[in-house]
C-alpha cells in the first residue's frame, strides 16, 4: 500500500499562517442579486438535449449562461486534488519547493490533469442535471459543482484548461492561494465538500458542513454512466456516533442491549444526513414526473447493523426524518467490500478508515468522514492522499 504522503497544501498553508484571514461573519449583507444577470427564459435555449458522457456538450453563449443561486442549488465543492490527479506536481513541490512547483504548473499549463477519485462522482452529478433540466428547464434546483482549492491562482489556467478538456460543467471556483477555504464554503451554501486534506474536512465538519476526505485509488471499478449512486454508512455518518460509542467502550452485547432498549427513540443526526436529504429532494422531482423506476439517483445504506435487531432503530429514524433510502443493506458485521463491489457507488461515505481502505482494495470509491468516536480508534492510514 502506498504510504500517505505529506500534503503539500498543508505545508503551504502552515507557512502562510500569519497571513490567513479568519473569515469574518459573512452572509450578513448579501449583495443584491444583480438583476441584469437573471436569466431571461426567452433567450435561454430550453431544448436541452440529454447529455451523453462521450459527446461534446454544445457550449451556451455566455450571456445566456444559467447560474443557479447558491442557496437554491445542491452545491458540491471539490478540491482540485480529488477532482484530478496531481501526484507528479506534488513531487515537484516536495522535492523542489513552491516556486518551482508553480513554475512547473505554468510550464505544463496546456497539459490537462488526469481524472481523480471524485471525477466519476462529478460526472454523475452532471448526468442528473441533464435529466433535471429536461423535466424542469427553469428550475435552479440542480447540482452546482464548485472547485474550491487552496491552490495558488498560478495553477488556475491549467485547472480551467483541464476542466474544458474533460468537458466538465464547472463555472464557479475559489482558488484561495493558501487561505482557509472554510469561509468560502459557507458563502457557497455548500452541501458537500470533498477534499484530500483531512484537516480541512474536519474543520468543515466542525462548521456543520457535510464533508469527506478522498484518497487516490490504485484501481477504480467501472461505475454507471446513467445513474448516480451514493452509499452511506449508518452510524457516525447518517446518524450520530452515540451507538458507536457504546459499542467501542462496552462491546457488542451492550450495543445490542442499548439498541433494543432505545428502539423507539430516534438516533440523533450525523454529518451527512443533510446531504441525503438534498438527494431525496431531487429524487422526488423525478417521482413527481413519473420517473420513479428510471430515477437517475439511487441511495444506499450499507451498515454493520443487523436487520433483525439493531437495524430497526436505523430504519425507524430514517422514516421519522421523512427520508427514503432506496436500498438498506444490513451486513450484521460482515465485510462491506463485496457488497460495495456489487453496488458500485460513485461515492461511499464511512467514518472508519478500516472500511474505507477495505472498500478501496476492491476498487470502490470510498470517502472518509472523520467524525465521531471512531477517529480515536482508526487504523494506520495506508492510503495515499489524493493530490
Amino acid at each position: 500500500m502506498v504510504k500517505m504522503s505529506l500534503d503539500p497544501m498543508q505545508v503551504m498553508s502552515g507557512q502562510v499562517k500569519e497571513l490567513k484571514r479568519s473569515p469574518s461573519s459573512n452572509g450578513d449583507t448579501r449583495g443584491s442579486w444583480e438583476e441584469k444577470e437573471e436569466f431571461d427564459p426567452n433567450q435561454l435555449d430550453l431544448t436541452v438535449k440529454p447529455k451523453t458522457v462521450t459527446g461534446r456538450r454544445a457550449r451556451k453563449v455566455e450571456g445566456a449562461m444559467f447560474f443557479p443561486k447558491p442557496e437554491n442549488a445542491v452545491t458540491v465543492a471539490v478540491s482540485s486534488r480529488v477532482l484530478f490527479r496531481t501526484e507528479r506536481e506534488q513531487k515537484v513541490f516536495e522535492q523542489k519547493g513552491v516556486e518551482e512547483y508553480l513554475r512547473y504548473q505554468i510550464e505544463h499549463e496546456n497539459e490537462p490533469f488526469a481524472p481523480g477519485p471524485a471525477f466519476a462522482f462529478v460526472k454523475a452529478l452532471e448526468t442528473v442535471n441533464s435529466r433535471l433540466r429536461e423535466l424542469y428547464p427553469q428550475s435552479e434546483e440542480l447540482f452546482d459543482i464548485v472547485l474550491v482549492t487552496y491552490n495558488h491562482a498560478h495553477v488556475g489556467i491549467r485547472l480551467i484548461n483541464t476542466i474544458n478538456h474533460h468537458n466538465l460543467f464547472i463555472e464557479r471556483f475559489c482558488m484561495t492561494g493558501g487561505s482557509s477555504p472554510i469561509g468560502y464554503l459557507k458563502a457557497w451554501h455548500t452541501n458537500l465538500y470533498l477534499s484530500a486534506d483531512a484537516e480541512k474536512v474536519r474543520e468543515a465538519l466542525g462548521e456543520g458542513i457535510a464533508a469527506a476526505t478522498m484518497f487516490m485509488l490504485e484501481k477504480m471499478t467501472e461505475v454507471s454512466e446513467s445513474q448516480l449512486r451514493v452509499a452511506f454508512d449508518g452510524d457516525a455518518v447518517l446518524f450520530s456516533d452515540e451507538s458507536e460509542r457504546i459499542f467501542k467502550t462496552h462491546g457488542l452485547d451492550k450495543f445490542f442491549e442499548h439498541e433494543k432498549e432505545n428502539e423507539d427513540r430516534l438516533l440523533d443526526h450525523g454529518p451527512l444526513k443533510g446531504f441525503l436529504e438534498a438527494l431525496g429532494k431531487l429524487q422526488k422531482k423525478f417521482y413527481a414526473k413519473g420517473q420513479r423506476l428510471d430515477c437517475p439517483i439511487r441511495t444506499y445504506l450499507v451498515t454493520a447493523r443487523s436487520a433483525a435487531s439493531s437495524g430497526i432503530r436505523a430504519l425507524k429514524t430514517l422514516r421519522a426524518w421523512g427520508l427514503e433510502i432506496d436500498e438498506a443493506l444490513f451486513l450484521a458485521g460482515a465485510p462491506k467490500g463485496p457488497m460495495l463491489e456489487k453496488i458500485r457507488p460513485h461515492i461511499y461515505f464511512d467514518d472508519q478508515m478500516f472500511h474505507v481502505e477495505g472498500a478501496a482494495e476492491m476498487g470502490t470509491i470510498a470517502a472518509h468522514v472523520p467524525y465521531g468516536i471512531a477517529q480515536k480508534y482508526n487504523s494506520q492510514h495506508k492510503m495515499s492522499t489524493g493530490k
Partner: protein
C-alpha cells in the same frame, strides 16, 4: 491654480520611478464635529495608507536602494480646508502618515494637479471626483467603509473582471487604457519583488459575471501585463457581498470605479 507643499518630515521619492498615489483629503481626514481647532479624525483611507507604508518598508528591506515605492500625496480642492493647511499638515505628521506632498487646488483644477504630479492612482470617497479622474485617463478607485478597516500586514488588491479596459474608439480611451495598464504593470513589478510566502502584497481576481472562460482570459490578460494574481474567484453570477466580506480588500480596481455591494 495648483500649489504643492512638500512635507519636509518625509523623504521625497524618486518621482520617475515611484508609484504616485493621490488620496483626496476627505478620504484621509474627517473634520471633528464642531471645533476645527481640535484637528481631524482619521477617515476610511487610513488602513490603506498604513499598509502602503508597510509595503514600502518591506520593499526597502529587500533592497535599501529601491526607488519603485508608493509615493502618497494628499489632494484637496476644498478652499476652506486649504485655509487650514497648517492644521492639515500637522495632523498628518501627528498620525505618522508618510505623505510626501500636499496639493491644493481649486475644484476645476484638480485634474490638473493630478496630471502635474504624475498621479498613477487616485483614491477618493467622492464618486464624482472618481468619475472625472477616470474620464481624464487617471485610474481611480472609490474608497468606502466596506473596505478593509483593520490594521493589516498585507496590502490586498482586488481586481474585478473589467480591471483591464477593453479598447474602445477614441483617443481618450486609448490613453486611459495605457495609464491603467502601466499602473497595473507597476503593481505587478512590485509583487514580483516578494516570494510566494510572506508577501506584503496579495493580488486577488474576482469575476462576478461570466464563467470560467472569461475568468481564464482575464487571468491571461493580467499575466500579459506582468500581474500574477495570488487568488482567483469565479463567482458565476453569485452575489459578491459574502465573498468581499471574506476577502476584505484594501483596494478594488475595475474600469472606472465601483461601489462595493452590500
Amino acid at each position: 491654480m495648483v500649489s504643492t507643499v512638500q512635507n519636509t518630515d518625509v523623504k521625497q521619492k524618486d518621482v520617475g520611478q515611484a508609484v504616485v498615489v493621490a488620496v483626496s483629503f476627505a478620504a484621509v481626514f474627517e473634520a471633528e464635529p464642531g471645533d476645527a481647532r481640535s484637528g481631524y479624525r482619521l477617515g476610511v483611507a487610513l488602513p490603506l495608507l498604513q499598509v502602503l507604508q508597510k509595503v514600502n518598508e518591506r520593499l526597502l528591506e529587500e533592497n535599501p536602494a529601491e526607488h519603485q515605492l508608493f509615493d502618497i500625496i494628499l489632494i484637496t480642492t476644498d478652499s476652506w480646508q486649504q485655509q487650514q493647511s497648517f492644521s492639515i499638515i500637522n495632523s498628518t505628521r501627528r498620525h505618522g502618515l508618510e505623505v510626501s506632498r500636499f496639493c491644493f487646488s481649486k475644484e476645476e483644477d484638480f485634474i490638473e494637479s493630478l496630471m502635474q504630479n504624475n498621479v498613477q492612482l487616485f483614491l477618493t470617497t467622492d464618486g464624482n471626483e472618481a468619475l472625472q479622474a477616470t474620464q481624464q485617463g487617471v485610474p481611480s478607485a472609490l474608497l468606502d467603509k466596506n473596505l478593509a478597516s483593520c490594521p493589516s500586514e498585507q496590502l490586498r488588491v482586488l481586481f474585478c473582471e473589467d480591471a483591464i479596459i477593453q479598447p474602445h474608439a477614441g483617443s481618450t480611451a486609448a490613453s486611459k487604457k495605457s495609464a491603467q495598464q502601466s499602473f497595473l504593470a507597476q503593481l505587478g513589478q512590485i509583487r514580483q519583488k516578494f516570494g510566494m510566502f510572506n508577501s506584503p502584497v496579495c493580488f486577488t481576481l474576482v469575476t462576478s459575471r461570466g464563467g470560467k472562460d472569461s475568468c481564464c482570459s482575464t487571468l491571461k490578460s493580467l499575466r500579459a501585463l506582468g500581474v500574477s494574481v495570488d487568488e482567483a474567484y469565479c463567482l458565476g453570477g453569485a452575489p459578491r457581498g459574502p465573498f468581499l466580506s471574506l476577502l476584505r480588500p484594501h483596494l478594488l480596481l475595475s474600469d472606472g470605479f465601483t461601489q462595493l455591494d452590500g
